[in-house]
């Protein structure tokens, strides 16, 4: 299985040109005459139809209109850019990645430029439909002219007749996964069962198995499409849960998106918050919404997922730089198997966009067919994309590059010293290779980060505070917090219990109460408040299924089994990464294959991951799982190499099979398939209408109706709203009510204010459980609803939401 497959001709459509060299002598003669083609005519017609519909405010038919809008704004420019020779000799996936990020960066930066300049000439709403349409038209004409000027020498195309039987089967299965995932999410949203979602997961597993078995018969392009469709199905399974905005970070992301929509422009002053500094969730979704014309939540729920599903394909492409198909496939599967990919990424849209830029940055710095200068420029531009998309992802990537640069500089210094001692010593190829991450590019990236984060948006303050508290915690000057997620790490064996975290949470609330007692009227005296001893309760588990009961009857502890599998999966992945790094260092045959720079950034990723895990506070503020997901873009193939190295004693030819089995086993467990089939594990949102994520993040019709009623009441904003975690889902986001001034306070019993509006959601009303969010952990506890019923008026009730005043 661990073998090299020949790359087919269509993977490298043409030889490239160096744009930086040929850009100077452009004249109109360089643009060949436009030849008529039906495809071009059809495209032009569709562009005209879309322009007319947006300008006239006409609604195009459902599904067709949004599809046409997305095609116009993203798909067409990406397709045309792919058909240029700008990118040089590279695979289709890499061309798509570069073209996609170019279009996304154009949309964000052109939107920003319009946002800054158009108000100067009197246009106060530069992100209204017509200016956005003009930007899109400019992009369309621009990419079309680029394509005329730099046409690809040979069009990359796939003939349908050349598609093999194996390819057809995997493509159909992958497409079926998407359909089943969408229908499955709809069924769950309508209160029906998980049958179709489970079918989607089973189909996905089978497709992956056959993709691995038929890897010799399936071409690279087909593999990319299959991986894209499978990733998309996993993302949609989660993102489409709920008919409204559902999830954690996505609530505030939606608020800043709606704020930009309502004002018709982006302004950091509208809401001075780090979320509002991310153009990926302010300007980009606004532009998409203006042209696509779909209900605003679906910009994130569908269209961002369509974009992000390209990321696992880019992970595959990065791995293909140095590894054979089988390793690259497994790397990509490890990437989508990571729990954060399925459960969290659809709720962190800004990071989705940022990770695509990170992947393209890695592709750029490992592209040895490009000159070092071109690599550096592309790296810097990709980093600009990361920075304006998501500040934290940029800090993590900057840390990775810094470690890589230190490693390279150390190695060069070592060999220079060595060479001076032995004049005839020949430095190894690693030390000779021209690096992309050098002082100038690092300084440029630092300057970009500083300029955007500090000068333009002043959102970098948080990172300085974090750094300060992390250093302080590391030196022992203060007690630093760590998320319970570090418990999955091989570096930590013990984390505080849920009750300990809850006690800390209660103590922090009581301290805050004491500090603000003079200015705030709380509903109970301090003595009573201290009696609110909140009790953590274990997270409810799914009941055992028939299969689970059968296993239980023969003595298998199913609940324990699921937990052990998850924990083991997390630790195995870390073990594999460690083994992979060691294998790269020790095994000469692998080292010859892998670029030195890639090795350095892989080590850099691991170091940054370790730092976030070890240093206090960082795992709370950045989320260790999210950092791991980002690191996997680079280290996924290293992880697979480690797995194969560990299984090497079984024989060179056989080592990849157990590695593949472990990979698929992890996929079966982390996607929720195994826990769902057996029961005895906390419910996952993508498969159930229960569980912690459902209780905390799911918005239903009654929630939306309650929030709409509340936004119409007088005195809501001055009095404030309190709700138990996760409260941001109750923010007012309708165009008439959205504001950057609103915030929702925690309704922990000790801090219940006399005049605040307090929301009790469906979860508390039906299970009695609320969730405390503290130090990056979610701790369920029994909520003392009697406190509210005794002290406040119950002013609104719709069966799933109660509002007290």
């Amino acid at each position: 299985m661990y073998d090299e497959r020949e790359i087919v001709a269509t993977d490298f459509p043409d030889a490239g040109i160096d744009v930086t060299e040929r850009w100077r002598d452009v004249s109109w003669r360089d643009f060949p005459r436009i030849e008529f083609s039906w495809a071009l005519a059809a495209s032009a017609c569709l562009v005209v139809i879309l322009n007319v519909s947006v300008i006239a405010g006409l609604a195009l038919p459902p599904f067709i209109g949004p599809a046409l809008g997305f095609w116009f704004l993203v798909v067409q420019p990406v397709y045309v850019l792919c058909r240029t020779s700008l990118w040089g000799q590279m695979s289709i996936a890499e061309r798509v990645g570069l073209s996609l990020t170019s279009v996304l960066l154009y949309l964000m930066l052109a939107g920003l430029a319009a946002d800054v300049m158009l108000p100067v000439v009197g246009l106060r709403r530069p992100l209204d439909p017509i200016p956005v349409l003009a930007l899109a038209d400019i992009a369309t004409v621009g990419v079309f002219l680029l394509q005329r000027r730099y046409p690809a020498q040979r069009a990359a195309s796939i003939s349908i007749a050349s598609v093999t039987r194996e390819e057809t089967r995997t493509l159909i299965a992958a497409a079926a996964c998407v359909v089943l995932a969408v229908l499955g999410a709809n069924r769950l949203n309508n209160g029906a069962g998980d049958q179709l979602s489970l079918a989607a997961l089973v189909t996905a597993v089978l497709t992956l198995v056959f993709l691995l078995i038929w890897r010799h018969e399936i071409r690279e392009t087909t593999t990319n499409i299959v991986l894209y469709l499978l990733s998309l199905s996993l993302l949609l399974m989660t993102s489409l849960r709920g008919w409204f905005v559902t999830g954690h970070d996505i609530q505030t992301e939606y608020q800043v998106f709606q704020l930009t929509m309502a004002h018709g422009r982006w302004d950091i002053a509208n809401f001075h918050n780090a979320y509002n500094a991310c153009l990926s969730i302010t300007i980009l979704p606004t532009e998409l919404a203006r042209v696509i014309g779909v209900a605003n939540p679906y910009i994130y729920k569908v269209f961002f997922q369509l974009i992000f599903a390209a990321c696992p394909v880019l992970v595959y492409t990065i791995a293909r730089r140095y590894w054979p198909v089988s390793v690259a496939m497994l790397a990509s599967i490890f990437f989508i198997s990571f729990p954060t990919f399925l459960a969290d990424m659809p709720f962190i849209n800004r990071q989705e966009i940022a990770l695509i830029f990170v992947a393209v940055a890695v592709l750029a710095l490992t592209n040895e067919t490009w000159s070092p200068r071109r690599r550096s420029i592309t790296l810097i531009v990709a980093c600009l994309g990361v920075e304006v998309s998501h500040y934290s992802s940029m800090y993590i990537f900057l840390g990775t590059m810094l470690v890589a640069w230190i490693m390279q500089a150390t190695m060069r210094l070592r060999h220079r010293t060595h060479r001076s001692r032995a004049a005839h010593a020949v430095p190894p190829p690693w030390a000779q290779a021209a690096s992309t991450i050098e002082v100038r590019s690092l300084l440029a990236v630092c300057a970009l980060t500083f300029a955007w984060g500090y000068l333009a948006t002043q959102s970098a303050g948080a990172v300085l505070t974090d750094a300060e508290s992390a250093i302080s915690g590391l030196l022992g000057h203060q007690v630093g917090a760590r998320s319970n997620n570090v418990g999955y790490s091989l570096l930590f064996w013990r984390t505080p219990s849920n009750q300990q975290v809850l006690d800390d949470y209660t103590n922090a609330a009581l301290k805050l109460r004491q500090a603000t007692l003079r200015d705030t009227t709380y509903i109970a005296p301090p003595g009573v408040a201290s009696a609110y001893n909140l009790r953590a309760v274990p997270e409810p588990l799914l009941p055992l299924t028939t299969a689970g009961r059968l296993l239980s009857d023969v003595g298998v502890p199913v609940a324990g089994l699921n937990t052990v599998i998850r924990l083991t999966a997390a630790q195995i992945e870390q073990l594999f990464v460690g083994a992979g790094i060691i294998a790269l260092l020790l095994a000469r045959w692998i080292r010859k294959r892998v670029g030195w720079e890639f090795f350095c950034i892989a080590v850099g990723s691991v170091v940054v991951l370790a730092v976030v895990t070890i240093v206090p506070d960082l795992s709370v503020d950045y989320g260790v799982l999210r950092v791991f997901q980002q690191a996997l873009i680079i280290i996924a193939p290293v992880l697979v190499t480690g797995a194969i190295a560990i299984f090497k004693p079984l024989g060179d030819a056989r080592a990849a099979w157990p590695a593949a089995a472990v990979c698929l086993g992890i996929f079966v467990s982390t996607t929720g398939l195994l826990p769902q089939v057996l029961g005895g594990y906390p419910a996952q949102l993508s498969l159930n209408n229960s569980g912690q994520y459902y209780n905390n993040y799911y918005m239903d019709s009654q929630d939306v109706a309650g929030v709409a009623w509340l936004s119409g009441q007088s005195g809501v904003l001055p009095s404030g709203i309190q709700a138990t975690h996760f409260s941001n889902r109750f923010l007012f986001t309708s165009p008439s009510a959205v504001t950057g001034q609103q915030f929702i306070e925690d309704a922990v019993p000790a801090l219940l204010r006399q005049h605040a509006w307090v929301i009790l959601d469906n979860s508390i009303l039906h299970t009695g459980l609320a969730t405390a969010s503290y130090d990056g952990d979610l701790i369920p506890y029994r909520y003392p609803t009697g406190v509210l019923r005794t002290n406040k008026n119950l002013v609104y009730d719709n069966g799933a939401m109660e509002i007290y005043r």
């Binding site: 709809n186 309508n190 008919w243 001055p718 406040k792 008026n793 002013v795 719709n798």
Partner: protein, 150 residues
């Protein structure tokens, strides 16, 4: 697949998988929730205004009941009426109810719709009729304060 479309149960399953099914619920809310009275005079009337919303997807007859209750287990119906409401329609009720709770605070005024679990309520601290003048004065003062605040 074609067979499933012929059967009502099959069609229902397809509908569950493709189309959004409406949620069915009843809404009960006070009209001016921030302006609810906090004090009252025993034996005097206070205005109560609330809305009943029918989101059950079919026409229903709603009967509201306004009750008062105090910690001494006193409980009495203060007002009740019924009306047929079409789907998606709301019924705004404004009634004056006479408070007969004891002076042991608080007196809870509760609005419910029998046959539905939803209910809303507010707490009133009653004062003796002899202090009527003073109470009215403080109530007016609170009202003025409220107006300024909003």
């Amino acid at each position: 697949m074609a067979v499933s479309l012929l059967l009502p149960a099959g069609r229902h399953q397809w509908a569950l998988s493709i189309f959004r099914q409406p949620a069915h619920y009843t809404v009960l809310a006070f009209k001016d929730a921030s302006g609810l009275p906090t004090t009252g005079i025993s034996g005097s009337a206070i205005p109560v205004s609330f809305t009943v919303g029918n989101q059950e997807g079919r026409t229903l007859t709603y009967r509201y009941v306004v009750r008062e209750a105090d910690p001494l287990d006193f409980s009495a119906t203060m007002a009740t009426a019924a009306r047929r409401l079409g789907p998606g329609r709301t019924w705004t009720v404004s009634v004056d109810v006479k408070l007969r709770c004891s002076l042991v605070p608080p007196c809870r005024i509760q609005v419910s719709v029998p046959g539905h679990p939803e209910r809303i309520d507010f707490l009133v601290i009653l004062k003796h009729a002899a202090r009527k003048h003073k109470a009215r004065k403080s109530s007016r003062s609170a009202s003025r304060h409220h107006v300024r605040r909003t």
